[in-house]
């Protein structure tokens, strides 16, 4: 009974991955069909020595770490706030959660045009209102702008999961510590944070999986530019293979992306494995 699901997933993993590995050793360009010469390691050499690769690698890491920092810290604070007695808590929860359900292309375009546009955007209007020069976010700080957009999408997710974890805290323990004279900070660091550690691990794991493959937000806002300023590995491989039709080079990039994701995955699985057993 198990087999169909497992077989399908196996096929989905192995067949295309094997093809990618095979292509990555060919000199194969869709613009010159028929010429599929063996290329050895030259595609990898080309990809790894391309200055764009290091730009993309750095951007990928900055994007993942930046968004994780904002969402985990912001999400914890937000969860602590929403855990307090609030009038209309259900409605506030819905307001906070909403960005998570907005499709990536919509959120990226709304931020790009209606907020960050240097002529008609709301930020430009606010800057002019207080006498400042409007700032062209996506031209001068493309990666930071994308981090902001992506963090806006993922903050609700972190907040919701951490809030769920907070609500399962032992209230008697909290009260007891209060009676024993523990201040809010020592309660946070000695009781709340350890209780949240598992949920935080889960948030980091799941977000990293999705953040390593950010694509749509870059495609519709900056196209990876200016230059390579906002290109991540996913976008670089896409550009190499589907915009420049270089199947060989793109495949080598794809395999490098898989290897990098695996390195991250090993760390994360180990972390989560430890946390989940307990």
């Amino acid at each position: 009974m198990l087999s169909p699901a497992v077989l399908l997933l196996l096929a989905w993993m192995i067949v295309p991955l094997t093809m990618t590995i095979y292509f990555s050793f060919l000199r194969y360009n869709l613009l010159s069909p028929g010429i599929n010469a063996w290329a050895g390691w030259s595609n990898y050499q080309y990809f790894l020595t391309d200055p764009a690769f290091f730009a993309a690698l750095t951007n990928t890491l900055l994007l993942v770490v930046g968004v994780l920092l904002i969402t985990v810290i912001g999400g914890t604070l937000l969860a602590l706030l929403l855990d307090q007695p609030i009038w209309g808590q259900g409605v506030v929860r819905i307001l906070v959660l909403a960005p998570f359900f907005v499709m990536p292309t919509v959120s990226a375009l709304v931020w790009k045009n209606m907020f960050m546009n240097p002529v008609n955007g709301l930020f430009a209007y606010a800057a002019k209102a207080v006498g400042l020069q409007p700032f062209d976010f996506l031209a001068h700080a493309p990666l930071a702008s994308i981090i902001l957009i992506v963090a806006w999408q993922w903050l609700p997710f972190a907040a919701l999961i951490l809030l769920t974890a907070l609500q399962s805290m032992d209230q008697e323990q909290m009260e007891a510590s209060e009676i024993d004279g523990a201040g809010p900070f020592s309660r946070f660091f000695y009781l709340v944070l350890p209780h949240l550690s598992r949920a935080i691990t889960v948030v980091i794991l799941i977000q990293t999986i999705f953040l390593l493959s950010i694509f749509a937000e870059i495609l519709v806002t900056t196209n990876g530019g200016p230059g390579y300023a906002s290109t991540n590995i996913t976008y670089l491989v896409y550009a190499q293979s589907l915009l420049q039709f270089d199947v060989g080079g793109g495949s080598a990039g794809g395999i490098i992306a898989v290897i990098l994701a695996n390195i991250v995955a090993i760390f994360l699985m180990r972390m989560i494995g430890k946390n989940l057993e307990a």
Binding site: L9, L97, I206, S251
Partner: protein, 276 residues
């Protein structure tokens, strides 16, 4: 006295929470409001929040210019189709893992989770070429197949965590009472499994509706769902704020509503049952 302090504290916390909540929601609110403005009012300076001539013309124009409804139905077919197909494949797998666990069950589950970590660019080129050669490029059935496979691990995991909570003793009790296999499935198991299946369905429709790697790369004009259609506004159409807003509002509204119903399941589904 203590009472008074705690009320004052509650007022402060409430105000703070509402301010932050509205700030986070504001881009969505602004999009919805802009969709009811004329193009001139949408970029007017100073911008007006509510005091403008409300109009519905953008919604009509988006449909007229670009056959919006076709993209909308593509989204419905692709997200529902891939979820239902995924459920049909995953239910037997999750069922057997939950009720007849073998030594390898945990390994298989972890392996399924690890397939989710395969970056899609690692298989983009072969999938693209296979689709091109088999005529699946820019078809709805092609996307249904890909999204089914992409979400299969999450569907299986979610179902597994729900099924695991169904007590096995209840089956023994039913058998003692003389239930046949068929009665067991229809009257005992199905009613207990349906809430879990419904939550899984809900969450995966949301995920598939918003999926924006494969839908952008494997479709052109014909099978493009809303994610890809909205991306076509990136330039220069995006400068028509009111129309962009109308198209966006219609694209996110169904999922916002579904999402609000699925808050609880969302946590559980996306954390693979690790946080409940």
């Amino acid at each position: 006295m203590a009472r008074a302090i705690s009320t004052r504290r509650q007022i402060t916390v409430t105000i703070l929470a509402w301010v932050i909540g509205i700030t986070i929601f504001f881009p969505i609110l602004w999009t919805i409001l802009t969709s009811f403005k004329t193009e001139a009012e949408a970029i007017a300076s100073p911008p007006s929040l509510f005091m403008f001539d409300w109009t519905l013309e953008n919604y009509g124009e988006v449909q007229e210019r670009s056959n919006y409804f076709r993209h909308f139905s593509n989204s419905v077919i692709i997200s529902l189709g891939s979820t239902v197909l995924g459920l049909l494949i995953a239910i037997p797998a999750a069922w057997s893992m939950a009720f007849v666990p073998a030594k390898r069950t945990k390994d298989i589950l972890m392996w399924m989770l690890s397939t989710k970590m395969l970056p899609p660019v690692g298989v983009l080129i072969p999938i693209y070429l296979i689709f091109r050669d088999t005529g699946l490029l820019d078809t709805r059935i092609g996307l249904v197949i890909v999204l089914t496979l992409v979400n299969l691990p999450i569907i299986t995991w979610m179902l597994f965590t729900y099924f695991r909570e169904i007590p096995g003793e209840i089956l023994e009790a039913a058998r003692m009472d003389g239930a046949m296999l068929w009665d067991e499935i229809v009257h005992v198991l199905t009613p207990m499994a349906i809430p879990g299946i419904a939550s899984t369905l809900l969450l995966n429709v949301i995920l598939a509706w918003n999926e924006a790697f494969w839908t952008l790369n494997l479709t052109a004009a014909k099978a493009a769902p809303l994610t890809a259609f909205i991306a076509s506004y990136s330039s220069p159409e995006g400068l028509f704020y009111a129309k962009l807003s109308a198209a966006s509002t219609m694209a996110i509204a169904p999922i916002l509503i579904l999402g609000w119903f699925s808050q609880k399941q969302l946590v559980r589904g996306l954390t693979f049952g690790a946080v409940k």
